[in-house]
């Protein structure tokens, strides 16, 4: 191994807590086993290795969950997380879809990450993350189990997101008491952040109000090799090679990374000027190699006159939000909470 790899490992280990490092490194190595050079994906092994947890209608730390089948045709499942209230600490099974009682309850439609290929709504890391979101933001979270690449390419994930959005919007029991409307936020990390953006786009002409987008380390890219990609390639768990692999797996065959799914403000992108696009909270990790694309996304929104708040976490790596053992986690959670409760919504 070249000397540079020693340095890589050292740098990486210096900024990440030990258990986070173990977790993400483990993913990295396991994922190496799943991506085949010919572009196929070892789905069976992926499902075997993925640590999953069942829904739990019994509240644990004030949060309970249950799974719903949103679309039979595509077997689209979602996991719903709800907070218990002081008045009714324990709901019984018939009351899972009991109406939310508060004046305003944010409903966060969450798209898990995994570069379009990995993980599920019932992956342990995401179940845990969604529960934390419920507690910290006092929100209902709907985690969408969208179809994944390479078996299901663009636009399947966006289609599923759109289906889920329509479903959430039409649940009477999710309507806030104040205005009998569902207060919807779209959120996601990595590929989930990308999905949130595109679902919000699709919602624009539909009449469904999306109050805000929360993009955690969103997955964007482009044909060009940016400075951050070159500088950080392989240094913090992620390589350009694996990024390229996932785009090749998601994008339609024959398309390059300037496809609008990958590069929304690129040559094939759509202008958002004059469009009523939701306000966005974009979190960028300073050690994420695709940050130049994420920052370009923020710039693109700003140039189009859209409201966007950038949270640039300098010493954060990918996955920092998976374990609450660092300051970035708490900062970001606070910001998300403020975002979904801000008085403008």
């Amino acid at each position: 191994m070249a000397r540079s790899n020693e340095v890589n490992l050292n740098e990486c280990k210096m900024v990440v807590p030990l258990n986070t490092w173990v977790l993400i490194s483990n993913f990295k190595l396991a994922y190496n086993l799943l991506r085949r050079p010919d572009g196929t994906f070892n789905r069976h092994l992926a499902e075997f290795l993925d640590r999953k947890v069942p829904a739990n209608a019994n509240p644990v730390d004030g949060v309970f969950s249950f799974d719903v089948l949103i679309d039979r045709g595509t077997s689209l499942l979602s996991r719903i997380y709800r907070p218990t209230t002081a008045e009714e600490p324990q709901l019984n099974i018939a009351e899972l879809e009991k109406p939310v009682m508060a004046a305003v309850v944010p409903v966060i439609i969450f798209f898990h990450g995994g570069s379009f290929a990995h993980s599920s709504a019932n992956s342990a890391i995401y179940d845990t993350l969604c529960r934390r979101l419920v507690s910290l933001c006092k929100a209902v979270v709907v985690s969408v189990n969208y179809r994944r690449a390479p078996e299901n390419r663009y636009p399947c994930a966006y289609d599923d997101g759109w289906t889920a959005l329509k479903w959430v919007n039409s649940r009477p029991w999710l309507q806030s008491q104040k205005d009998s409307k569902v207060h919807i936020y779209l959120a996601g990390d990595s590929s989930g952040g990308n999905i949130a953006h595109h679902v919000a786009l699709r919602a624009i002409e539909s009449g469904i109000d999306v109050l805000g987008n929360i993009l955690l380390n969103p997955m964007f890219g482009g044909q060009e090799r940016t400075e951050s990609e070159k500088r950080l390639d392989g240094k913090y768990f992620v390589t350009l090679r694996d990024r390229d692999w996932y785009w090749r797996a998601y994008l339609p065959e024959g398309e390059d990374r300037d496809h609008l799914a990958c590069n929304p403000f690129g040559p094939n992108g759509r202008s958002l000027e004059g469009i009523k696009f939701p306000k966005s909270l974009v979190v960028v990790a300073g050690l994420d190699l695709i940050q130049d694309w994420q920052l370009a996304y923020v710039e693109g929104l700003k140039k189009a006159g859209q409201e966007v708040k950038l949270l640039y976490m300098e010493q954060a790596t990918i996955g920092f939000y998976l374990l609450p053992n660092n300051n970035h986690f708490h900062t970001v959670m606070d910001e998300i909470s403020k975002f979904v409760h801000s008085f403008n919504s």
Partner: protein, 541 residues
């Protein structure tokens, strides 16, 4: 050793921060997690890892990554093999994948040389709670650790080679046990190659070298082992003498036994000591002097020394006897010596000892009884024969000192493993001695034992050490009852140890017996016995 990673921040207490809610497991599971020191955050992600093992798991992950990068062709095979391992048990999952990727076959069980020295190589690059305090360290090559105990700092490369060597030794031994000599031979070649990259002056390299030689001997010369203990009686005595000087084991054996004999002879005027292995008679001057100073005056002392016959016509036994007689005369102790030449202890007949019924007899066996444990279907068990006539002498005391080890197991691999552990510890303890040529010759003495344990079988294998617990059973079954060695003996032993030896040796009391060991591993055990009287005293025919 302090591990300063922020897993301790909250990770190992199951997400205890009050503001963050995690999908915490029910209280019972939480308590169990805490007890087992399971990292709570990783548990929430579906992985069970002990906080104390995080660092080790991280290092293994690094190695796994390196291995995967180095063998991309094997990845698809590795992928299909991973289904055999539980992904939640991350530590063993990573280890299993590592062992899949890093052929040749690994050893059947983890071999821990010294539980402390395993920790010498630690990469320091893990973050503290404040990420803005970067520490720059080299990950690989030589690390210095400031430790507050007496670890030696081992360069990472060397420790790896040392551990590899141990693994290979185990593999080779396992091949030998299975009879796969061709694989064993190629193992030997690999090990000899590895030896060139390891420091063989001390530590694992040195003792491994001896074991490699012994295995070599076994594989190529067979288990007759005629030449192993070859070496004249003169040579043996010389090596023994240097072993006596270089480390405290024999000194401990002698003064513990002497103390017990002295106490047993209290009030007796005619005493007879039977020494099963006279050698240079190093044990007896001290006893003679102690008897001389006895309140009430010394007894009449007879000493019968057993030893191998001298091939060159010299009567070496008699020569030793004469020297001891000189000493006795000089301190006014009435003394008589008799030598009994026998190449094997089981060839000695009690009538040769000419025990007078009016005498108080002490039988003294320093590392001799185990030689009688080889069983030959054509003969009666020698140990039983000998113990039986010892009993018939009705000795006031029988002092027994034996190696505290289990080197007489039927399975070769088990024996080999035990011996590797035992002699590694003994070699470690020898490092404390710097006096030459004692040390070098003492090492040869030990090396001969190793060779006998490893490369011999049947009647040729005489180093059949068994631990104290087994001797207790055996001797009780043969009609002996234990005599407590007493706190005097313990105090004496401890005191003499501080006078003669380096730090690290430890004397322990074990239910009336005393053991001497290196750090917490006993290496030699001393005990005292008396025949249970059944009313008859009979010399067997």
């Amino acid at each position: 050793m302090v591990l300063y990673d922020s897993a301790t921040l909250g990770g190992s207490c199951s997400g205890s921060s009050s503001s963050s809610s995690s999908s915490k497991p029910p209280p019972l599971q939480q308590r169990q997690q805490k007890q087992q020191d399971i990292d709570g955050f990783l548990a929430g992600a579906g992985y069970r890892v002990r906080s104390s093992e995080l660092r080790k798991v991280a290092q293994r992950l690094e190695r796994l990554e390196t291995a995967m990068v180095n063998s991309p062709a094997d990845l698809s095979q590795l992928a299909s093999d991973t289904i055999h391992y539980n992904p939640s048990d991350l530590a063993s999952w990573v280890d299993s994948l590592l062992s899949e990727l890093t052929q040749p076959p690994t050893c059947p069980s983890e071999f821990i040389m010294d539980p402390v020295s395993n920790q010498t190589v630690v990469s320091d690059a893990w973050t503290t709670a404040e990420p803005h305090m970067p520490q720059v360290h080299q990950n690989i090559s030589y690390e210095q650790q400031s430790l507050n105990n007496q670890l030696t700092v081992v360069p990472a490369m060397e420790e790896d080679s040392g551990i590899r060597l141990v693994h290979m030794l185990m593999t080779c031994a396992e091949c030998v046990q299975r009879g796969d000599f061709s694989l064993a031979t190629s193992c030997l070649e690999d090990m000899q190659g590895l030896l060139t990259r390891v420091n063989t002056v001390c530590g694992i390299g040195k003792v491994a070298g001896h074991f490699i030689d012994a295995l070599s001997r076994r594989i190529f010369q067979g288990i007759g082992g005629g030449s192993v203990n070859g070496g004249s009686a003169y040579e043996n005595e010389l090596l023994y003498h240097h072993f006596y000087e270089a480390c405290p084991y024999l000194k401990f054996a002698h003064f513990t036994a002497n103390q017990a004999i002295l106490e047993a002879f209290d009030g007796h005027d005619c005493v007879h000591v039977v020494d099963f292995n006279l050698m240079h008679g190093l044990q007896w001057p001290a006893l003679i002097q102690a008897l001389a100073l006895r309140p009430g005056g010394p007894p009449l002392l007879r000493l019968t020394g057993i030893g191998p016959p001298s091939p060159d016509g010299r009567d070496s036994l008699r020569e030793i006897g004469l020297r001891l007689a000189e000493l006795a005369r000089s301190v006014n102790v009435r003394f008589a010596f008799r030598g009994v030449a026998a190449s094997r202890l089981e060839d000695v007949k009690p009538w040769m000892l000419q025990v007078n019924p009016k005498e108080s007899v002490a039988v003294n066996s320093i590392m001799q009884l185990h030689r009688l444990l080889g069983s030959d279907p054509n003969r009666n068990s020698p140990i039983e024969t000998v113990l039986s006539w010892i009993r018939s002498l009705n000795p006031k005391i029988m002092t027994v000192v034996e190696q505290e080890a289990n080197h007489n197991q039927p399975g070769f691999l088990d024996r080999f493993t035990e011996a590797l552990h035992y002699y590694s510890t003994m070699f470690d303890s020898l490092e404390a001695c710097t006096v030459q040529p004692n040390k070098a010759l003492a090492e040869i003495y030990i090396q001969r034992e190793i060779a006998n344990v490893v490369s011999c079988e049947g009647s040729a294998r005489v180093e059949r050490h068994e631990p104290l617990s087994k001797w207790r059973t055996r001797l009780s079954g043969a009609g002996f009852r234990p005599l407590h060695l007493g706190s005097n003996a313990y105090k004496q032993a401890s005191m003499l140890l501080t006078l003669f030896s380096a730090e690290g040796y430890s004397v322990e009391e074990n239910d009336g017996c005393l053991t001497l060991g290196w750090h917490s591993r006993p290496l030699i055990a001393a005990s005292a016995w008396q025949a249970v009287s059944d009313g008859t005293a009979d010399f067997p025919a």
